[in-house]
């Protein structure tokens, strides 16, 4: 299996508290990898370490086999886009919001086409981002990340602030983008039903440690759990979380 992103022994601490305690995992090219685990497992921190919004104390992240610590963070972040839990749009219009990153890179993009790509009408471009619903804002934030034509899209619980209908629409969009653009997607989620709907592969984190990685089918059939063995500490945590 060709990994677009490979994480090896990642450690990160803040204020004397170790958040990541040696995480190793991989995201295959062109697939949707879901990072799951209970609250405080370090899922969002892991995602931030991948595009160097935070610098790990130890370990390495590889993009196409190349260590990201040796890359210019600005170049890395243009290749590895990110969508956050809340949209945080800026600019006076939706078009400004979408083109923020490309303009910084000295390029241009078709905001109308990007809006259509995320299921919004091109006429949204002239609207004030703050007048949109949170679901629409999240679509705009996905369009904003796509404007840079990233090879990987990191998504940190992008549906957690949305209602059920908006959540389903974003899930469909994630599937479409992956299929249409052959985009490698790493999605952090705490909702197992969502993981079951969108994932190709599942990485489980618990208390800052990687507990394993499986195909979606293995993960939900329980093969992953039995493979680790019931007596392992990870196995215990997984059962507690799954309840």
């Amino acid at each position: 299996m060709g990994f677009k992103i490979r994480i090896s022994g990642l450690r990160y601490a803040v204020g004397g508290v170790e958040i990541l305690k040696g995480v190793s995992a991989g995201a295959p090219e062109g697939k949707i990898t879901c990072v799951v685990g209970p609250s405080g497992a370090g899922k969002s921190t892991l995602l931030r370490a991948v595009n160097r919004l935070i610098e790990p104390a130890a370990g390495e992240v590889y993009l196409d086999g190349f260590p990201t610590s040796e890359m210019d963070p600005l170049v890395l972040r243009r290749r590895v886009g990110m969508v956050f839990q809340l949209p945080a749009l800026f600019g006076e219009s939706v078009e400004d919001a979408i083109l923020y990153g490309v303009r910084l890179a000295g390029k241009d993009a078709d905001a109308g086409r990007l809006l259509e790509m995320v299921g919004l009408d091109a006429s949204f471009g002239s609207r004030d981002p703050q007048t949109l619903s949170v679901g629409q804002q999240q679509r705009v934030s996905i369009a904003r990340a796509l404007a840079l034509e990233p090879e990987v899209l990191l998504m940190d619980e992008p549906t957690s602030a949305l209602d059920e209908a908006a959540r389903r629409r974003i899930e469909e969009l994630i599937g479409e983008l992956n299929a249409r653009l052959d985009l490698t997607i790493v999605l952090v989620s705490h909702a197992l039903d969502q993981v079951e709907r969108v994932a190709d592969r599942v990485v489980l984190l618990a208390a800052g440690r990687s507990e394993g990685e499986w195909s979606k089918e293995e993960f939900f059939s329980g093969e992953g759990e039995s493979r680790r063995g019931d007596s392992s500490p990870g196995g215990c945590r997984w059962r507690v979380w799954r309840r």
């Binding site: 595009n51 600005l74 956050f84 945080a88 934030s141 904003r144 840079l148």
Partner: protein, 201 residues
């Protein structure tokens, strides 16, 4: 009699401070300790600086004036940096900003021969420039720190879109600078109407 009048004035002033402390307690502003420390410090500092300035006036040495002004810049920077706890490298940033403001302003005044290069002019003038710069630096640093914390999501989103740190905080910095400059601009605007320069009237 004159000594008694001075003590009376000091007590009256402390009475006003007590009113401020009472208001802080009533409004639960948690400023009582700050006010108390500020009052004690101002008494001690004024007495100490009075002796120092008297000594320097007597020396008539420009290098002693420069040394005193440098000390004032250092103290102002330390005060600003304390106000901006949590801001990385706040002390050198504040020292740089206040130092540049002092050197530029006094330098221009000296070059244009607006003031003579003597302690009697440079120390009070330098004090005013350094004091104003310190206030602006404190307000700017504290505002930047608070706004970055409040708008962390926007800053992170900008960074994730390939913005440099400077570009990501640029809107916050602009707002902070604008706010911090308001008191200075307003006092300049109202000079001659509200703010009257000290002198013989």
């Amino acid at each position: 009699m004159e000594g008694l009048e001075t003590v009376g004035s000091a007590l009256l002033t402390l009475g006003l401070v007590a009113v401020a402390v009472a208001l802080s307690l009533y409004q639960k502003l948690d400023l009582e300790k700050d006010i108390g420390v500020a009052v004690v410090r101002s008494f001690v500092q004024l007495a100490a600086v009075g002796y120092a300035i008297n000594y320097i006036f007597g020396l008539e040495s420009l290098s002693a004036v420069v040394l005193l002004l440098a000390g004032m810049v250092g103290f102002a920077a330390w005060t600003s940096a304390r106000r901006a706890r949590g801001v990385p490298r706040a002390l050198p940033v504040a020292a740089g900003a206040i130092g540049v403001a002092a050197v530029a302003t006094l330098g221009v005044l000296l070059l244009l021969q607006v003031v003579p290069p003597t302690a009697r002019y440079l120390i009070p003038l330098g004090g005013m420039v350094i004091g104003n710069s310190m206030n602006t630096a404190s307000l700017t640093l504290a505002r930047v720190r608070d706004d970055v914390a409040e708008q962390r999501l926007k800053v992170e989103a900008a960074l994730a879109l390939g913005a440099t740190s400077r570009q990501a905080v640029s809107p916050i910095l602009k707002t902070a600078l604008r706010s911090a400059m308001i008191p200075l601009i307003d006092s300049t605007k109202t000079t001659g109407i509200i703010f009257l320069p000290p002198g013989r009237w």
